[in-house]
C-alpha cells in the first residue's frame, strides 16, 4: 500500500484511539489499573520516529488529555513531555533491548508519568490516598508487547517514516 510520503495520519489516528481508550468507561474493579494508553503511544512513537514525534506532540496530546480528564491544564502535558524527553534520550538503547527489558523501562516511564500527575493533583488537594495510583505502570508494562507489535505492524504496513 503506497501512501503519501510519510502517512502522518496513522500517527494521528493512533493518538486518537489512545485518547478514546483513555476515557472509555471501565468496570469498577479496573478503574485504578487502567493502562496509560496515551503514555504508551507517546513512548512508542518517540522511540520509533524520534524526528517526527517528540515534545511538541506530547504537549498537544497532554493538553487534550487534561481537558478530557478535567484535570488542571498542564498536568498530563507536563508528565507526557517529561516521558517523551526521557524516551528521546533513551531511544537508541531501547531499540536494541529485548521485549521485557523494554517493558521494564516502560514501567519506570509510566511510573514517572503517574508520579508527576500525582504531584500536580496534590497541589490541587485532590491526590490519591494510597499507592494504588502506581498500578497503571504495571498494567501498561504488561501491555507493552501488544502495543509495540500493534503499532509496529501499522507503521510498517503504511510505511510511516
Amino acid at each position: 500500500m503506497e501512501e503519501g510520503a510519510n502517512a502522518y495520519w496513522v500517527i494521528l489516528l493512533s493518538f486518537l484511539v489512545a485518547l478514546i481508550l483513555a476515557v472509555t468507561p471501565m468496570p469498577a474493579w479496573l478503574v485504578w489499573g487502567r493502562p496509560e494508553w496515551v503514555a504508551l503511544a507517546v513512548i512508542y512513537w518517540t522511540i520509533a520516529l524520534p524526528h517526527r514525534v517528540g515534545i511538541l506532540t506530547a504537549l498537544v496530546i497532554g493538553i487534550a488529555m487534561d481537558v478530557l480528564e478535567g484535570a488542571v491544564l498542564g498536568q498530563n502535558a507536563f508528565a507526557l513531555v517529561v516521558v517523551s524527553l526521557l524516551a528521546m534520550v533513551l531511544y537508541q538503547r531501547l531499540r536494541v533491548f529485548s521485549l521485557w527489558q523494554q517493558a521494564a523501562v516502560v514501567f519506570v516511564l509510566v511510573g514517572i508519568n503517574q508520579l508527576i500527575c500525582q504531584w500536580v493533583q496534590n497541589l490541587e488537594g485532590a491526590g490519591a490516598q494510597s499507592l494504588l495510583f502506581l498500578l497503571p505502570a504495571c498494567s501498561s508494562a504488561l501491555l507493552w508487547p501488544l502495543v509495540l507489535h500493534g503499532l509496529r505492524g501499522l507503521r510498517r504496513f503504511y510505511r510511516v517514516t
Binding site: 486518537l16 485518547l19 478514546i20 481508550l21 483513555a22 476515557v23 472509555t24 468507561p25 471501565m26 469498577a28 478503574v31 485504578w32 487502567r34 504537549l59 493538553i63 487534550a64 481537558v67 478530557l68 480528564e69 478535567g70 484535570a71 488542571v72 491544564l73 498542564g74 498536568q75 502535558a77 507536563f78 513531555v81 500536580v120 493533583q121 497541589l123 490541587e124 488537594g125 485532590a126 491526590g127 490519591a128 490516598q129 494504588l132 495510583f133
Partner: protein, 257 residues
C-alpha cells in the same frame, strides 16, 4: 507548562480556553460512549412483547400510586405558601428542570466528575446544581458548547452546606473521595445528630437550592477526647448508577465568581 499549571490552579484564568477545547474534544467522549449507547438501543429496540407488556403494566401501576400521592400536593402547597406568608418568609419557588444524560465519567478515580450531553446551547450555566430522582448529585464546573462537566458532591474538593431534616441543625458535608461517603465536618460533640437522620441542602451557600435530600447519616462517633464528633453519611443519590440526571434551573441564577 508550569506557568499553565499555575495559571489554571491559582488564578482560574483559562475558563474560556477550556470551554473551547472541551467543545473540540466532545467527539472523543461521544465515541467512547458508543458501546453503551448500542447496548441501550438494543435493550429498547430488541425486546420481547411479553417484557414490554409487563413493563407497561408496572409503569401504569407506579403512575397510579404517584398520582394518588400527588392528589394532596396542591392543597399542601397552598397551605405551605400561606404558612410561609404568616412567617414572613419568601415563598418557595418551583424549580424548572432539564433532563440530561451522562456521556462520560472522569477516567481518573480520584476525580469524581462526569460529563453531560447538555451544554451552553441548552443554557447550562456554571455552578448549576444537578439532581437525580433520589437526591443532590453535584454542580456544573465547566460548560462547553454541547457538553458540560459536573463535580459530584463526593469529590474530595467539594463541600456543601446541609441541614438535618429532623431539627434544622446546620452543618457542612464534605466529600472524601469515596462514592458512598460524605463526612460532616466540625460538628460539636453535643450536637443533636443521630444515625438515620436525613440531611438536605440548606441553600445557605447560595449555590444549591434548598430542601433537596443529600445524604443519610450512617455513623456518629463521639469521642470525649476529640473536640468534634466524627459523622459519616451516605449520599441518597445513586451517584455511580444513574445515567439520567436533572439539571435544575432556578428563577434567580446566583452569581458565580
Amino acid at each position: 507548562m508550569l506557568v499553565l499549571i499555575v495559571a489554571d490552579l491559582r488564578y482560574n484564568r483559562l475558563g474560556y480556553a477550556r470551554g473551547a477545547l472541551d467543545t473540540l474534544l466532545t467527539p472523543i467522549y461521544w465515541i467512547a460512549d458508543l458501546p453503551t449507547r448500542v447496548g441501550q438501543w438494543q435493550e429498547t429496540h430488541i425486546q420481547s412483547r411479553d417484557d414490554l407488556l409487563q413493563e407497561t403494566e408496572r409503569l401504569r401501576r407506579e403512575n397510579l400510586v404517584m398520582q394518588g400521592r400527588s392528589l394532596q400536593m396542591a392543597s399542601l402547597q397552598a397551605d405551605n405558601t400561606r404558612l410561609r406568608a404568616l412567617l414572613n418568609s419568601t415563598a418557595l419557588l418551583r424549580d424548572d428542570v432539564l433532563v440530561a444524560e451522562l456521556i462520560g465519567v472522569s477516567p481518573d478515580p480520584v476525580r469524581h466528575q462526569v460529563v453531560l450531553d447538555k451544554g451552553e446551547s441548552d443554557a447550562v450555566y456554571l455552578g448549576q446544581p444537578l439532581i437525580d430522582s433520589d437526591g443532590l448529585v453535584g454542580q456544573v464546573v465547566e460548560v462547553g458548547e454541547l457538553t458540560s462537566r459536573v463535580l459530584l458532591i463526593t469529590d474530595s474538593t467539594h463541600s456543601l452546606p446541609v441541614q438535618v431534616n429532623r431539627n434544622g441543625v446546620r452543618a457542612i458535608a464534605e466529600g472524601v473521595g469515596s462514592l458512598d461517603r460524605l463526612e460532616i465536618r466540625h460538628v460539636a460533640a453535643t450536637t443533636d445528630i443521630q444515625v438515620g437522620d436525613l440531611l438536605e441542602s440548606s441553600g445557605l451557600g447560595g449555590r444549591f437550592p434548598t430542601g433537596y435530600p443529600v445524604a443519610t447519616v450512617v455513623t456518629v462517633e463521639r469521642d470525649p477526647g476529640q473536640p468534634f464528633a466524627r459523622i459519616l453519611a451516605k449520599p441518597t443519590a445513586a451517584l455511580d448508577r444513574s445515567r439520567h440526571v436533572l439539571l435544575v434551573f432556578r428563577s434567580d441564577p446566583p452569581g458565580v465568581d
